[in-house]
Amino acid sequence: MPEPSTPNAMAHTAVPTIVVVGHGMVGQRFLEALADRGLTPAAGAARVVVLCEEPRPAYDRVRLTSYFDGRSPEDLSLVEPDFMDRHGIELYVGDPAESVDRAGRTVTARSGAVFPYDTLVLATGSYPFVPPVPGKDARGCFVYRTIEDLLAIEEYAKGAATGAVVGGGLLGLEAAGALKGLGLSTHVVEFAPRLMPVQVDEGGGAALLRTIEDMGLTVHTGVGTQEVTAGEDGAVNGMALSDGSSLDVDLVVFSAGVRPRDQLARQCGLAVGERGGIVVDEECRTSDPAVFAIGECALAADGRVYGLVAPGYEMALAAAEVIAGGRSAFTGADLSTKLKLLGVDVASFGDAHGAAEGSLDVVYSDARSGVYKKLVIGSDGTLLGGVLVGDADQYGTLRPMTGTVLPVAPEQLVLPAGAGGPVALGPSALPDEAVICSCHNVTKGAICEHTALPEVKKCTKAGTGCGSCLKVIGQLMPPPEDAGLCGCFPYSRSELYEIVRTLEVTSFAELLDSHGRAEARGGDGCEVCKPTVGSVIASLAPTVGASGYVLDGEQAALQDTNDHFLANLQRNGSYSIVPRIPGGEITPEKLIVIGEVARDFGLYTKITGGQRIDLFGARVDQLPLIWTRLVDAGFESGHAYGKSLRTVKSCVGQTWCRYGVQDSVRMAIDLELRYRGLRSPHKLKSAVSGCARECAEARGKDFGIIATAQGWNLYVGGNGGATPRHADLLAQDLSDAELVRLIDRFLMFYIRTADRLERTSAWLERIDGGLDHVRDVVVHDSLGLCEELERLMADHVAGYRDEWAETINDPERLRRFVTFVNAPDAPDPSVRFVPERDQIKPDLELLAGPVLAVRTLEGTAS
């Protein structure tokens, strides 16, 4: 072995040097495999040098498009932050290998650095193929391969209106989805007669085409690109197609397949295939025994170049094992894939095209809903492969069964529910040796040694590749120990809601004793379940026959202190008060009353984050006095203390604003009055904007309404807070009545199915099927629930009474509003204030000490 010629101290030790050229997904998998085998500098077994062309370490190229869903390049990283340091691996990013001297066993990087090697591993991947059409280098032409490509497309798309993708394969459709997401009117040009010609057959391609055209993309199949035309400024302005037609486009993305990057191998005289690819044997060794090639740059022993990540990973493992002195072989892999393209599930596995002699197809095709399923069955009844488009849920169970005789008739597996099938062929039907995760080649048996998903991911890597097997892994895990609300109830909030509703339970104690955990029955419940059940009973009060007043009877003991005193507890034990101002519209007289009340009781006054007027610093005993004045002036409770509707904000709308197209203020008032007092799993906020300028910020609300010339658009699931989320469009151009009916259904469905303290945004993202499911339920009435949801809301609206008006008119209810049970007239000496900016603020110094200083009952008036 030639003596290394580098000053690096490591090189003078006896350990061999492994140089890896390329740090993509396969390169990183190779490094992990080395680390697993202890072949690292940290283990004292090798020097490992990695040369990476891109400016960042390995990232998940399969999920490249998710960058446009708001993921950052960092989110896509495949490298644990301390991976390189922990194993002592030298990673040089932005410094690709330029040449290899096989005789001298050195690699020279672009920076000029020379690295001697004992073993060289080429993982250079592939490059996008750009067909040699005239104009392909014009400004506005891109490829779709790296994060840098994406960033460039994103930047250029800002000045573009129409884009075209050349290539209707897997990556081409990904790119088309990205262009559409960037707001471009998008064309897809595919030379083959169907989309995704490699993965799906004609029927699948047709189902895919219909769904993708429904999304607003224009697809041209069976035509080639003849020329990209550019204007005088050198920028793309159109495309000429082989059928004589032309397209006006501002941006072109070439995604017509990839080619192995084998230049480095060619330059140093390694054998390459006729159509490219570095020739390797089953051990992934090239024609030079000291050089290996893995992943998309390699021409595998079976004569194929694999463009998928799973075979690349297998090659990485095989090469690492061989380099570590073990035995391993990569003899080929199947091309099964499952992915979500533009929201459509597409999967193919095994012999998808029915190439085997005597094979027969079992096909289900529903063009209307874009579902196509085909199973290829051998003459002896074994499953050979299949294609699934539009609904690929069965991929996880069918693919591992390839090569076996199915336990049920194949037609039962492709029919939709309600048509005699499908038979739920769960993962329990799979044999232990069935491969569940094909990216990392993990069997069912290996997965079932673990009991929780995080553990499976950590120990076996299953589910960390493409993720298509996660659902099956979830089904293989034992059910979570306990999904109960708290230590008292084994049920979730939505289950308790159903119990209360169907059994018409009106008492917490009754519910706890009948449905609580055995050890909690007869007890007092806890701070989690009491307010939750209190809220559920309050939500259903008119329907199940409970009192609508949240402080009646036993309900009083369930409410958090805010609900208990119908005000918001502040840090020094004082309370704040928010009167309802529906839609934010208020007369000068009422504004003056608020000012007078605040002045007379010495309250700190502020417009809150939610744009409401809040009066701070009231003692418990002052609350009824303050509210007597407010109720007399026509105010009602603003429910700022409750998990309930807070406010419906509005812009001034059509009446005053020159841009307004609807009366947003009237609608906001109507909605606030309709839903006031509605108890829900968490607070509810809303807003109505009078035009698309959206001054009311409706898309930051749980339900937001934006006026259109034709009516109203309803958005749901937005919020501000720590994790802001824009609301999603539920339905558009609604009449007043349609809008109210939809909101009725939406809110009641949320209240019925959400978890405790789960805002609509989190709920929408959690529930199966997400927004589409909610739309099915509340717009299309897919569950037949809408009539009941509307009735529940009608009950609420009819049963509403103002809690504060009821309280101040009832001496029995007023009795609780004393600070001290033994001294009803004494104010709380611990609630004191000091001045700040012409108002008051809590005297926290008073509270800071270990105990309150001794003070008498006198002299405590604040």
Partner: protein, 119 residues
């Protein structure tokens, strides 16, 4: 007055708190709501929180929440864990054992306990 409130007719006795050598009469037993508390002003200016659980057992602890300094424990929600009653502070929700005053969420913290009689 249209709806029934919590008045437990059989509970006409009074609630008394040990204070120094004396028993301080706090209120009628019927004024307590099961599952909730009331605040008591002590002669020395200190405050206690008195609770009644579902079984009718009465407890008293200091009213000051040691985590915030505010005198609010009487306004917390009562619960039971493993058969032992506790109150959860209405401010930051730490739980205190009503019988011992120990904080269930922080070994370092505790509140004083008062001897109480309800007969």
């Amino acid at each position: 007055m249209t709806t029934a409130t919590i008045t437990t007719a059989q509970d006409t006795g009074s609630v008394r708190l040990a204070h120094g050598k004396d028993w301080l009469t706090v209120c009628e037993r019927g004024l307590l709501t099961p599952g909730r508390g009331v605040a008591v002003l002590l002669p020395d200016g200190d405050q206690a929180a008195v609770f009644m659980d579902r079984a009718g057992q009465v407890y008293a602890i200091g009213n000051r929440d040691p985590f915030t300094g505010a005198y609010v424990l009487s306004r917390g929600l009562l619960g039971s864990a493993g058969g032992r009653p506790f109150v959860a502070s209405p401010l930051l929700k730490q739980r205190f054992d009503l019988a011992t005053g120990a904080c269930l969420d922080d070994e370092e913290a505790a509140v004083p306990v008062f001897t109480v009689r309800a007969d």
